[in-house]
């Protein structure tokens, strides 16, 4: 069987090192008002920029706060590395578990999103949209690693 495209096993650890702090920091940014203290102004290249009370621009350098950009980039890279790196012994059971976890995560995520659509309005829904950018990968990684761990723990030295 042709294996799926995955990163080498060593990248998983790098992924965790990126994913855990960026997740914690991301939650802190969302839940508290530390965002004002962590403003990092920088010149960046923007394909498109549309300020809320400003003008539109495209294809050029702009000056903006890049805290969220940095946290988002580190999170996405970390999550991809954790979710899509080979296990030490990548075999057909692990591959199937990875795929089924991905499907499970999409199911759970969209059921939660559906409930949020129906029951959450206004600024609250904006927060739902922000969380929703990251939840598919978080649920996927959580479920996949939880089942791997559970399987590893069951009957470890059994003859």
């Amino acid at each position: 069987m042709k294996p799926n495209i995955l990163f080498p096993n060593g990248f998983k650890l790098i992924g965790w090192i990126l994913l855990v702090p960026s997740t914690i920091f991301g939650f802190l940014l969302m839940l508290s008002d530390i965002e004002e203290k962590f403003t990092v102004k920088s010149k960046v290249f923007a394909l498109y920029n549309d300020e809320i009370f400003g003008k539109q621009s495209h294809w050029g350098l702009i000056t903006t706060d890049i805290t969220l950009t940095a946290v988002g980039v580190v999170f996405i890279v970390g999550a991809l590395l954790v979710g899509f790196s080979r296990e030490k012994k990548e075999d057909e059971f692990i591959a199937k578990l990875r795929l089924s976890s991905l499907m499970w995560a999409v199911w759970v995520n969209y059921i939660l999103l559906l409930l949020a659509f129906i029951f959450i309005y206004g600024m609250g829904f904006l927060h739902v949209m922000i969380y929703n950018m990251f939840t598919v990968m978080l649920i996927f990684i959580g479920r996949f690693n939880f089942i791997l761990f559970k399987n590893k723990m069951s009957a470890p030295n059994e003859k």
Partner: protein, 66 residues
């Protein structure tokens, strides 16, 4: 589908880990097969058969629900 890998391992006196190494899979996979959580591919089933020197229909059995 049911299987008697556990019994077969006991007869050959090898651990899940040793069987896993023989056929180049993870120990989790052997465990998942033995606990009926995972049905192996034909390739893997044939490898297990070869490891025990038995045809696969002496290791794996269809159930009524299959």
């Amino acid at each position: 589908m049911k299987n008697n890998l556990k019994v077969e391992r006991a007869i050959h006196n090898i651990t899940q880990e040793e069987l896993a190494q023989k056929i180049f899979v993870s120990r989790q996979t052997i465990n998942a097969i033995e606990t009926n959580k995972y049905v192996p591919s034909t390739v893997l089933a044939l490898k297990i058969g070869r490891a025990f020197g038995k045809p696969i229909d002496e290791l794996f059995f269809l159930e009524d629900t299959d």
